[in-house]
């Protein structure tokens, strides 16, 4: 089963880009073929969210100081770069969750995805122009990967 999981906070500007893309994928795909989920909050929940999936595409915003709108592709087989890692105790980065799932034997066969460098994470803001353009690009790319119509 193919899963697409958008990660983010709907009320924090560009942090919502993963959710926005997930919403578009949901509207353009057959739920019998593609399961689309939105994850708001604790990323540790990913380990449960993708239970039953063979192939998972994750979409999340990135805040690494790069050029806003930059799209990073990642494959969990290769491990995630520092862009997807942050240190803390009460929230786990995407990179940490993937490594924890791998250690627990709960990583789906394929986990890949997109990170989109955000510009503005202001509470209540919408997507910035750069990130909205990147969302178009990633949505099209993702739908092509899923081999379904736009």
């Amino acid at each position: 089963m193919i899963f697409v999981i958008g990660i983010g906070n709907p009320d924090r500007g560009d942090d919502a880009v993963g959710l926005a893309i997930a919403s578009r994928i949901k509207a353009a795909t057959n739920p019998a073929e593609v399961t689309v989920r939105e994850l708001v909050g604790d990323q540790l929940a990913l380990i449960d969210e993708w239970t039953g999936a063979t192939d998972v595409y994750l979409v999340d915003a990135v805040c690494s100081g790069g050029t806003p709108g930059t799209v990073y592709r990642f494959d969990a087989c290769d491990g995630l770069s520092e862009r997807f890692r942050h240190r803390g105790t009460h929230t786990f980065s995407l990179a940490d969750v993937i490594e924890l799932a791998r250690a627990l034997g709960r990583l789906p066969r394929q986990v890949a995805g997109f990170g989109i460098e955000g510009a503005d994470f202001t509470i209540g803001a919408g997507l910035s122009a750069e990130v909205a353009a990147a969302a178009d690009e990633v949505s099209a790319c993702l739908l092509a990967s899923l081999k379904v119509g736009v």
Binding site: G41, T89, E99, A103, L104
Partner: protein, 440 residues
């Protein structure tokens, strides 16, 4: 520690908060141990001013992603105190049940992924999971049960949206809560195994004469209610907090330090246990006794064991509260602004997973919050953490730097500090005195 040497650990993990810690050594003595904090949640107090009295539970919940219920409960109780409102017994029980979910979530996370790796020689929870996946999976399963309990009552597991001044927007049905029972029963069994597992850890020999402070309740292990008590005899209401506890600024931390009548004190599991273990249910006490806990615990490294017992208690208490559950009807009582033309001040204290959380609000007659004070447990524990580091490290300065640094990091994690809920990192520097100049 040799003269002129330096231990530096950039990016100490598994300690919450943005800041650093520095130990200054001179002639074989520690002259200073500082916990530097850069990003405390103090701005919340300022942004609360001018808001309506109904808003603090939702606003202050945003201070922390792991203990939002603590902020919501302290805020609600303080505002209800100021507005002279009394909630029903059924609402109080539902609040306690919601809080149990938060304790489960927080304690399971800290025990399994943040603190246990120290005792077992792993650099992180991920490394621990590679060798012991079943053990870490057990911890995650308990955390998940806590998440589900919070979601069932609060609407979601992080930053619940169902809490309001006076109670809840909606009370879950008895059936909705009963559906959680199998998972909570499994969590309780897992928590029992957690106590046994943690009891087998090797705890460094280190005891301190703490001034413990926590809520104390005549017949309950305190979570949501009680008087403020200290091991030295203090016994006051939350309204008397400011008469005894003083906050003040220090140069190296933007989080205010706090003292009790001029003395350093400690809140959290060790304090709760030491002041209240007699109120734990008999079966939880049996598990604690089997794990070697029989009275006051003064070794901070054993806080993980107390936390495990509290985890078992939270599961046990959640099951009890669900068995006795009657949906509060109505789910909230009406709370109106103070009748006095000059307004009123309300006080609230609850036991966050990390310790005592105090809220105070001044509310005008039109319901506007004119002043707010929030004192989180980690803010209160800063001085105790610094004292721990000083007393722990000094007799060990001759140890291998790497080992000493690792044990100092572990000593900080004993108190599960949650500095700013901003999920960054702490930087530990153990520095000879001659290097301390210019590091500020």
């Amino acid at each position: 520690m040799t003269h002129g040497s330096r231990i530096s650990v950039p990016g100490l993990t598994r300690v919450e908060g943005e800041g650093g810690l520095e130990i200054v050594v001179s002639d074989g003595r520690i002259t200073e141990a500082r916990l530097d904090i850069y990003e405390p949640p103090r701005f919340f107090e300022a942004l609360l001013r001018g808001r309506q009295y109904t808003e603090p539970p939702d606003i202050t919940a945003r201070i922390c992603g792991i203990c939002p219920v603590a902020y919501q409960m302290s805020a609600c109780q303080a505002i209800e105190n100021g507005c002279r409102a009394t909630v029903t017994e059924d609402i109080r029980k539902l609040r306690r049940l919601l809080y149990c979910g938060e304790w489960m979530e927080s304690h399971a996370l800290h025990i399994y992924l943040l603190h246990a790796p120290d005792f077992l020689g792993y650099p992180s929870g991920i490394h621990l999971a590679r060798d012991h996946p079943d053990i870490v999976a057990r911890g995650l399963s308990i955390k998940k049960a806590g998440n589900h309990l919070m979601a069932a009552i609060g609407g979601r597991s992080v930053h619940p949206v169902n809490v309001k001044v006076g109670g809840f927007y909606r009370a879950p049905t008895a059936r909705e809560l009963r559906e959680l029972v199998p998972q909570l029963e499994q969590a309780r069994r897992d928590a029992e195994e957690t106590v046994t597992w943690v009891a087998g850890f090797d705890f460094p020999g280190f005891d301190r004469d703490y001034e413990f402070v926590s809520l104390r309740h005549p017949d309950q292990y305190p979570i949501t209610e009680g008087r403020i008590a200290a091991i030295s005899g203090l016994d006051i209401t939350p309204a008397e907090y400011d008469q005894h506890f003083t906050e003040f600024q220090v140069a190296h931390s933007t989080a205010l330090h706090s003292v009790l009548d001029g003395r350093t004190y400690l809140t959290g599991p060790l304090a709760r246990w030491s002041l209240n273990f007699g109120n734990l249910p008999a079966d939880v006490m049996r598990a604690a006794a089997a794990a070697g806990l029989n009275g006051t615990v003064t070794n901070p490294f054993r806080s993980i064991l107390v936390r495990a017992v509290e985890l078992l208690f939270a599961c046990d208490e959640a099951l009890r509260l669900i068995r006795e559950y009657r949906p509060p009807d109505p789910p909230a009582v009406a709370v109106t602004p103070p009748h006095s033309a000059t307004g009123a001040t309300g006080y609230g204290c609850t036991e966050a997973p990390r310790g005592l959380l105090y809220h105070r609000y001044a509310i005008a007659a039109d319901g506007t919050v004119t002043d707010a004070k929030i004192v989180p447990p980690t803010s209160q524990n800063q001085r105790a953490i610094e004292a721990d580091l000083r007393d722990f490290a000094e007799p060990r300065l001759g140890m291998d730097h790497e080992i000493l640094t690792s044990e100092c990091e572990q000593a900080v994690r004993n108190h599960d500090p949650c500095i700013s809920c901003a999920a960054h990192f702490l930087d530990l520097r153990l520095t000879p005195a001659e290097y301390s100049q210019g590091t500020r």
